[in-house]
């Protein structure tokens, strides 16, 4: 074999295990559940193969499913909004701070290493009936019996914001850090106030980072089922909870397939839209 032919083959040999794994463990399984979503669950024995539209019809027309889907998107949107509101000034401060940028960044990365379930359940210690806040209010005499603060939609959003905020800050930071500070100085020297310089120069230039962080927060938030299970009440189910219910509790795998695909399409459409206008590179920049 010539050296050139070997050069050409080598990368494919190196790539084949990873590509093979993704194909076998993700791509083919995704195609498989597309097929599976047209099968029917039978009361006894294995699911009936075939081409039935029943699951899809139910997934798309059942008012309960539609309500949960709408609610999920609403929760994800509110979460994203609060992540941006909390995250932008923090990211701006880190970028422009003269001192311990490294420590601030390291602290920011720290939550990535702290388990998601622990960060979620930590709010029970704060807001639970014997948690820090109730204990404080009781001891100061503001209230005479503990208030029920947990297990509602607001605490689900709180938990999600707490979980997703680092993704937002990191993405905005990456974007802000790449902006030449001279641009803002130039704007002020030409007569703009600092606020004008910020809103007309820095903010627009950092929008790609804001958008990348927003996409991540939205997609990760909309795909969760653990946070509603821990911090939500019985009526605060999100769409992924329906998937979990169908697959694990009801063992209705064909229906579960249709519901997961519906979630994938809705969130996939968002990612595609983002990719169409902003490209994927900003996203991987923030992740790396």
């Amino acid at each position: 074999m010539s050296v050139e032919a070997r050069e050409r083959r080598q990368p494919w040999i190196l790539l084949s295990p990873a590509l093979g794994a993704v194909a076998l463990l993700l791509l083919v399984p995704l195609l498989f559940i597309v097929v599976y979503s047209f099968w029917l669950r039978s009361a006894v024995g294995p699911d009936t193969a075939g081409f039935h539209l029943d699951n899809w019809q139910r997934a798309l027309t059942d008012p309960f499913y539609r309500y949960i889907l709408f609610n999920t998107l609403k929760i994800a949107a509110i979460t994203t909004f609060f992540c941006a509101l909390l995250g932008y000034p923090a990211a701006y401060f880190i970028t422009r701070s003269s001192g311990n940028k490294l420590i601030l960044l390291l602290l920011l990365m720290l939550p990535f290493w702290i388990s998601y379930i622990i960060r979620t359940m930590s709010w029970i210690n704060i807001l639970g009936s014997s948690g820090a806040l109730n204990t404080f209010l009781l001891s100061t005499g503001v209230i005479s019996s503990p208030i029920q603060m947990l297990y509602n939609e607001a605490t689900v959003i709180l938990g999600l914001v707490h979980f997703l905020l680092p993704f937002m800050v990191l993405n905005i930071y990456v974007s802000l850090d790449g902006i030449d500070t001279n641009l803002e100085d130039a704007a002020t020297s030409l007569g703009a106030t600092r606020w004008q310089a910020f809103t007309q120069v820095t903010l627009p230039l950092s929008l790609p980072g804001l958008a990348a962080g927003g996409l991540l927060c939205f997609v990760l938030g909309a795909g969760t089922y653990i946070t509603p299970l821990i911090l939500g009440g019985p009526r605060d189910a999100m769409f992924a909870n329906l998937v979990f219910e169908a697959i694990i509790t009801q063992l209705n795998w064909p229906m579960g397939s249709a519901l997961s695909l519906l979630l994938l399409f809705v969130l996939g459409a968002l990612v595609a839209l983002y990719n169409r206008y902003l490209g994927m590179s900003q996203l991987t920049k923030g992740l790396g």
Binding site: Q10, P11, W12, L14, L15, P17, A18, L19, A21, V22, L26, L27, P29, L30, F32, I33, Y36, P89, A90, Y92, F93, S97, L110, P111, W113, I114, S115, Y116, I117, I118, R119, M121, S122, I124, N125, G128, S130, A132, T135, L165, V169, R194, V219, G223, Y225, I226, I230, A240, V243, F244, I247, G256, S257, L261, L263, L264, V271, T284, L287, G288
Partner: protein
């Protein structure tokens, strides 16, 4: 003018401090309460005690979950890092046609919501005859840690200069020799970072794990989850503290050792 700027800056600083408090205070409370002597494990704290850690140590279910999580994390890190390093080498070191498409395919597992990935993998492998099992858990953890390993390793790999390898080759080393005695040592920090990342993500995962784990098998997060069903107990806080030490302490220790080694080599 300068005054208003300073005031604005002070406001942003105060805001940022609040944001950091928001992120860390709840976690700090978990750690604090795990040392609580009070038998209900809630406020007010009555004293410092290690009784909840002792209770953990004597809790068979928790210790079993720990062993499962450790084994799963180590195997995931081993497989995922091997696949990821090979793929990153190909992408950074060779001219591969369709590189963008390949990269997109390789990071696809984090573009697909984890719930969907979990369902697809469970149903497909079950159809192939592999039901809920440790093997399924491992397959799942490998596939969704792989993109992170590839992103981390690729980022480091770009900064290693090609000409060092070319020098080795031109001095008569074979490509395999070059890889093991030049490329791999230079690559080690990237490999370690990738492996650590894969281990931590696997050790923390619950979203996919709840779909894939067989009945009776628990990892640490699923164990915490099932303990939460009753109510929050100081034992859960203690378990949380141990997990924080493992997933935060290990990387910090790793970074410190790496820095020390680098300094030694530098001198």
């Amino acid at each position: 003018m300068a005054g208003s700027r300073n005031m604005g800056w002070a406001a942003i600083r105060a805001y940022t401090i609040l944001v950091y408090l928001f992120m860390f205070l709840p976690v700090a409370v978990v750690v604090l309460l795990s040392f609580n002597q009070n038998q209900f494990g809630s406020f007010p704290m009555t004293g410092v005690s290690l009784r909840w850690f002792e209770a953990l140590w004597n809790n068979d279910a928790v210790m079993r979950a720990f062993r499962t999580s450790l084994l799963l994390g180590l195997l995931t890190a081993l497989i995922s890092t091997t696949l990821g390093v090979l793929a990153s080498l190909a992408l950074v070191r060779y001219r591969v046609p369709g590189k963008n498409l390949i990269t997109t395919i390789l990071i696809a597992p984090i573009l697909v919501p984890e719930v969907v990935l979990a369902v697809a993998l469970l149903l497909f492998l079950n159809w192939l005859g592999i039901g809920k099992s440790f093997a399924l858990l491992l397959a799942g953890h490998v596939i969704f840690t792989l993109p992170f390993v590839i992103l981390v390793v690729q980022a480091r790999l770009v900064s290693i200069r090609r000409d060092v390898e070319e020098a080795a080759l031109s001095l008569g080393a074979s490509p395999v020799q070059t890889f093991f005695s030049v490329t791999l040592p230079l690559l080690m920090p990237a490999v370690a970072a990738g492996a650590l990342f894969a281990f931590t993500i696997s050790f923390d995962d619950i979203t996919g794990t709840l779909f894939w784990k067989p009945g009776g098998v628990e990892t640490v997060p699923t164990q915490i989850f099932s303990m939460l069903r009753n109510s929050i107990s100081p034992e859960i806080n203690a378990l949380g503290t141990v997990m924080i030490v493992i997933t935060v302490g290990l990387p910090l220790l790793g970074a410190a050792i790496a820095r020390r080694l680098a300094m030694k080599r530098g001198m």
